[in-house]
């Protein structure tokens, strides 16, 4: 697949446009778990408190629905409290769950450093941390291996460019959201290191902050200007913290008839979001399966509440999804 032999360091190779032929795919961290629906009635009589990240975004929404589903099956009573990306709200939620004497907690909250206070304010019950560490009180970490997920995306993106384009591209646009805290750094940073492991140091990097949770309007406005500042650029690698900002980037490109120039690497895969998958250069997505988080969270939390052992890490089996393999993971994929 490699036109010229790789020479010197990855960086040198990259600038030579060759790419690192023997780059290894990132190794999944320990603790990747399999999804398992909850046992009917297994949690009868239990109350679970669920501190949400932000119900205004699709990802947590998907998690929410999946957890509700599983709670339903298990016969658990679920109480949700939305932290709206704000740690002090999460703290209030914890206090409230303490007064409500819930039996177990699911905490999906952005500020890992605030976890200590939040743990302290909450009831002393088993805690499932979603996507973000909740030390010292977390019984298990459940969800995305953020860095790994990023690296997977970056690596495959790199592979694609190495094989198709000899690692040549005009710019690397990273649509981020500093508002979601270190998760942003883990995921987007992961993408970069994954990519660099194949195509060497990234050049012409454009980092764009798209506001709290990644907002379409902000992304679109800045993407438009960025594209203007990249006249004639025909290979613009575009990665984003969520799908909204990718849709926005596409809109920005569409309004300049430059949809062809965007090479999309996407975090998470929402089978409904056809705008993305029908784009000319949709490379692929790292699947997070938020719609199945409940199958990790609920059964394990119930076990923990009942005093049984649960693994400390219950990681989502991230998958690299492309148009070719999508049916394996989403049989009813409709785009």
């Amino acid at each position: 697949a490699c036109s010229q032999p790789a020479t010197g360091t990855g960086a040198a190779a990259a600038t030579a446009g060759a790419g690192n032929a023997d780059a290894q795919p990132p190794t999944p961290p320990p603790g990747v778990a399999a999804f398992e629906p909850a046992q009917p009635g297994s949690g009868a009589g239990l109350t679970i408190g669920f501190t949400q990240l932000a119900l205004s975004a699709p990802f947590p929404q998907a998690v929410q629905r999946s957890v509700e589903e599983q709670a339903e099956i298990a016969g658990v009573e679920l109480v949700t409290c939305d932290s709206k990306l704000d740690a002090s709200r999460a703290l209030d939620c914890a206090r409230q769950f303490a007064t409500q004497q819930v039996d177990g907690l699911i905490t999906f909250q952005a500020d890992a450093n605030a976890a200590a206070s939040i743990c302290d304010a909450g009831p002393q019950v088993p805690v499932m941390a979603v996507d973000i560490e909740q030390q010292p009180c977390q019984t298990a970490f459940v969800g995305a291996a953020n860095t790994y997920a990023g690296e997977v995306l970056g690596f495959h993106l790199g592979e694609y460019f190495r094989d198709e384009e000899g690692c040549e591209y005009d710019a690397f646009v990273s649509l981020e959201s500093t508002a979601v805290g270190e998760v942003n750094e883990q995921r987007m940073g992961g993408i970069r290191s994954g990519f660099e492991s194949v195509c060497g140091p990234i050049h012409d990097l454009r980092t764009i902050d798209t506001g709290a949770g990644g907002q379409a309007d902000a992304a679109q406005r800045q993407m438009t200007d960025t594209l203007t500042a990249l006249p004639g650029a025909e290979k613009v690698i575009t990665v984003g913290i969520n799908e909204d900002v990718i849709v926005a980037a596409l809109a920005a490109a569409r309004s300049q008839n430059r949809t062809d120039s965007l090479y999309l690497g996407v975090q998470n895969f929402d089978p409904a979001n056809c705008t993305i998958y029908d784009a000319p250069h949709y490379v692929g997505s790292t699947a997070y399966f938020p719609e199945r988080y409940g199958e990790l969270l609920v059964p394990n939390l119930i076990r923990a509440v009942k005093g049984e052992q649960v693994p400390a890490q219950l990681l989502v089996p991230h998958e690299w999804v492309t148009r070719d393999n999508v049916e394996q993971h989403y049989p009813d994929f409709a785009c």
């Binding site: 907002q215 200007d225 849709v247």
Partner: protein, 332 residues
């Protein structure tokens, strides 16, 4: 009730201090001062970025401020009459949601009609609450702001919902200018004319200047304000269509913060909080000052945090600059 009737008349509650405050607090950058500022920006960025001065980029600037601009037009009318509408941001999201949900069900044309009706409906609701029920505009629109944002999330489930075949907003009918920019220009001209040349516009100024006096010269204040809120509602509708069509989809966070962006441009443009002064031209300049800045900084690849710092400082400097001019002028 009779005793109360005189005092009300006799009391210069808000109105009387207004002109005084208008002079002392709410400074009114004359368009001149702001234009100088805008020019300075343009020169600076032309020097710093090779891409700034070309036509395509100016088209971007216009397009980027189109949605805020349409809302700012409505806000100008309201603020001149001493009223607010903070519900525009969530209104845009709700209009978009109605459109994308209705389109598959009833077809695009009807969906658009519904969406427009929704936007105007929001305006009517605000107008009703303010002029008939008599709740002050800030509380009312803070309320509807929350209500429609909430409804958008409840109904849309925070999802990003696409709409098919509704991409008029990315067309470029002529001079390579996309529809949103053209729509904004049309709206701006209409509102400018409305304020400058019509009796309705005049009465907006009168009401903003002194509602009691306005009433006593025969202006039906409630009706006019109701109309003003409806205009704002119409702007919500237009902005909602533009935003949805541009993105080809809508989501739970669509339009967040637009209300502040709009009001900022209007005030920067010289409309005073106490009403009765200012105009659409000022608002357009206000929009450009902010729009050019963010465009230029993005072209220079300045990271968005620094952009915020720059924008904030500039907002202050622009007005300070004008205050200075006024002082010098007066003591001259």
């Amino acid at each position: 009730m009779p005793e109360t009737s005189i005092p009300t008349a006799a009391a210069p509650p808000a109105p009387a201090p207004a002109p005084a405050r208008a002079r002392r607090q709410v400074s009114i950058p004359t368009s001149a001062a702001l234009l100088v500022f805008l020019a300075a920006e343009v020169v600076f960025f032309s020097v710093r970025s090779p891409f700034f001065l070309n036509w395509a980029n100016w088209v971007n600037i216009l397009t980027a401020l189109a949605i805020t601009g349409v809302l700012a037009a409505g806000a100008t009318v309201l603020l001149i009459a001493g009223q607010f509408d903070l519900s525009v941001g969530s209104g845009v999201a709700f209009v978009g949601l109605v459109l994308v949900l209705a389109a598959p069900a009833v077809g695009l044309p009807l969906a658009v009609v519904l969406a427009v009706a929704t936007g105007i409906g929001i305006g009517l609701l605000n107008g009703f609450l303010v002029t008939v029920v008599g709740i002050n505009a800030l509380i009312t629109t803070l309320g509807t702001l929350a209500v429609f944002r909430g409804l958008t999330l409840v109904i849309g489930g925070g999802q990003n919902i696409p709409v098919q075949g509704f991409d008029f907003a990315i067309q470029r009918p002529f001079l390579d200018v996309p529809v949103p920019a053209l729509v904004f220009l049309v709206v701006a001209v209409l509102v400018a004319a409305l304020l400058r040349f019509t009796v309705f516009g005049r009465s907006m100024y009168a009401i903003g200047a002194n509602p009691v006096a306005a009433r006593l010269v025969g202006i039906r204040v409630s009706r006019k304000l109701f109309a003003a809120f409806t205009i704002s509602g119409a702007c919500i509708a237009v902005a909602g269509l533009l935003s949805t069509s541009q993105l080809g989809s809508t989501s739970g966070t669509t339009g967040t913060g637009l209300e502040l962006a709009a009001v900022t441009a209007v005030i920067l443009g010289g409309v005073s909080l106490s009403g009765g002064v200012g105009g659409m031209l000022g608002t357009v300049i206000g929009l450009l000052i902010v729009g050019v800045l963010s465009n230029g900084l993005t072209l220079m690849n300045v990271d968005s945090a620094w952009q915020q710092v720059a924008t904030g400082s500039l907002l202050i400097i622009a007005v300070a600059f004008d205050r200075l001019r006024q002082k010098v002028f007066r003591s001259a």
